[in-house]
Amino acid sequence: MATEAPPAPAAFPAPAPAVKALSCPSCGGTIELRAAGYTVTVACLYCGSLLDVANPDVRLITEYHEAAAELEIPLGTRGTLDGVEWEAIGYLRRSEGGSYPWEEYLLFNPYHAYRWLISNGRGWSFGEQLTRTPDWAHGLSLDGQRYEAFFADGVAQVDYVLGEFYWRVKAGEEVKTDDYVRPGWMLSREANEQEVSWSLSRWLEPKEIKAAFGVEPPRRSWPPLPHQPSPYRPALKRRAMLALAAVGFLILLALLFGGGSTLLRAELPIALDGVQRTATLGPVTVGRAYQMVAIEAEVPRLDNAWVDLDYSLVDRATQASWNAYDAAERYSGRDSDGAWSEGSRSATVKLAAVPAGTYDLVVDYQGNRWGGGSSGAEPESVRLEVRTGTVFFSNFLLAAILILLPLIFVIFRHMSFESARKGESDFAPVAEDDEED
């Protein structure tokens, strides 16, 4: 029975060799086959000749006599990604009909099979062929993650090969490609007449590929790769939370310390006669050490006239006074453009830090008619209301803007990153922009 005898390590007295040596029938160079048993085609590292190694006798497919290209990751180099050591065994240079070139390294580990390292000069990705097909149920999705279409109907060709491959690769070979992305990941479909294959690749941070294969960061990393996650996304989230908390705190402050109450209401008689009148109102009593006091005046039926308002809040105990000037003015008329009006029938003035105490409010006020306008109904009174504790709305706004500024900055950077990233897509909304222009 299978379970009765646990495998004895002694069953393997010596490890199997990892490589099989071949000699190139074209240049005589020694080729070390690193995936013996899987490899079908080898492009000689010395002369570039394509060899068929599917059968025991090595057969020359296409003879070349050219120095092999120097690679950023020389074949045979090993590096660790996702905790597994990989050896670069094959190299493809591909393009879309000669444009948009990119490189693919075939990685191998006998216990973990194949992976791909893909670079277009602006960044690297680590890919794996899938043994299942994405779902079309709600858009394109794989393992419950949705992907958006990015490139469509591409035709990828092989321009140059070096090293070993598990299929019959040759320069000029073409496949149809479609790519789908979500932040950090790209799903790629490649199809020829015989088969459709899907692969999933993960965007590698420059430090990750450097640590694995000693590759220097790309000199040029703009525009971003289709699946490159916006580096501003984490900051965006963090700052949005922070700003939300700060604005929430601000509102809380305003509610706690800015809760206003009405201290006084009064109605003063007025006429538009240019005569100054005086009224003393009170008492106005405020209890907190310091507070803001707002005086709002409203003049009903004010039209083509103005009311000057001089306020003095006089402490009954010390005779110290807090003074403010305000005016309610409103004009209206009719011209070639139709009816117009400007100004307001009400005016509010704020005294910022009034100490606790009992005050009289002395109001000097004067109603004036504006000669240019037609006179209608005359105002009869000025309604005054004195309130305390209202936080300056403008201060609140300023604070909120200061809090939101870093967030707005990050949003702007994030949006320009995303627009540069999506600008590369076959689905970029370019056509719509053109129509608007």
């Binding site: 029975m1 299978a2 379970t3 005898a5 646990p6 495998p7 004895a8 390590p9 069953a11 393997f12 490890p15 199997a16 060799p17 990892a18 099989k20 690193r34 995936a35 013996a36 048993g37 899987y38 079908v40 599917a54 059968n55 025991p56 597994v84 050591e85 191998f108 580990n109 006998p110 216990y111 973990h112 099979a113 194949y114 062929q129 043994t131 299942r132 097909t133 779902d135 598990y166 299929w167 019959r168 007449e193 015989q194 088969e195």
Partner: protein
């Protein structure tokens, strides 16, 4: 378990199950067939070409949820490459195949061919060929033909349910489903066998006793 001496070289050879009547002598590579109480030498197996497969005779693992041990292998070749099919014996005495192609693994078990009623499949059994990409249904699930090609036995080793002499030719068709289910038809003249299974990873099979390969760390898939 039947243990006897190889009629060719005298080395001890074992037959674990009457269902697996064929065996390649580990020492002289003679193909032996068990018939009743006797043993017959029916030919010579070819030497296995070198490969870096991580699997070897003696590798163990578990699958759904039975324990298994790898006890035999057939290496198949076709025009553009070759692949391994490892025979695994489960602890309930049943067997299956761990197929290894392009670094990916599939575990399949033989099923009665009458189970499959799809017309495309019936035509295949009747000796027709099929194009890659053809769609069909197996147990109601959609499948496509991923490969359809003549294949030839390169070499074999260990215990097997049939004799696999070098040069033995079959017509092999592989089916794939979008969910990772796989199936395979192997046809020799008018005799067809059908296998059904799915893609697996060595990690999920928790394999132990992997073959050591120079310069590579053997992963601890089996804990």
């Amino acid at each position: 378990m039947l243990s006897i001496s190889c009629p060719n070289c005298g080395a001890e050879v074992q037959f674990r199950s009457p269902a697996l009547p064929s065996r390649v002598c580990d020492y002289c590579r003679t193909i032996l067939v068990r018939s009743g109480d006797g043993i017959e030498a029916v030919g010579k197996a070819a030497a296995l070409p070198f490969d870096v497969s991580p699997i070897a005779i003696g590798t163990t693992g578990s699958f759904d949820p039975r324990r298994f041990e790898v006890i035999g292998r057939v290496r198949w070749g076709w025009e553009d490459g070759s692949w391994n099919e490892w025979l695994v014996l489960f602890d309930d005495g049943s067997d299956g195949w761990l197929a290894e192609a392009m670094g990916q693994f599939m575990l399949l078990r033989e099923r009665p061919i009458g189970d499959i009623t799809d017309p495309v499949f019936r035509l295949l059994i009747d000796g027709r060929t099929v194009l890659v990409g053809t769609e069909l249904r197996i147990d109601g699930d959609p499948f496509t033909v991923a490969d359809a090609r003549p294949a030839t036995c390169i070499a074999s080793e260990g215990e097997l349910p049939f004799t696999a002499p070098p040069g033995w030719s079959i017509y092999s068709v592989d089916f794939r489903s979008p969910t990772g289910r796989v199936a395979s038809l192997q046809r020799e003249a008018t005799l067809s066998s059908f296998y059904d299974g799915r893609y697996v990873t060595l990690a999920e099979l928790q394999v132990r006793g992997l073959r050591p390969i120079e310069g590579w760390r053997v992963p601890a898939f089996g804990g």
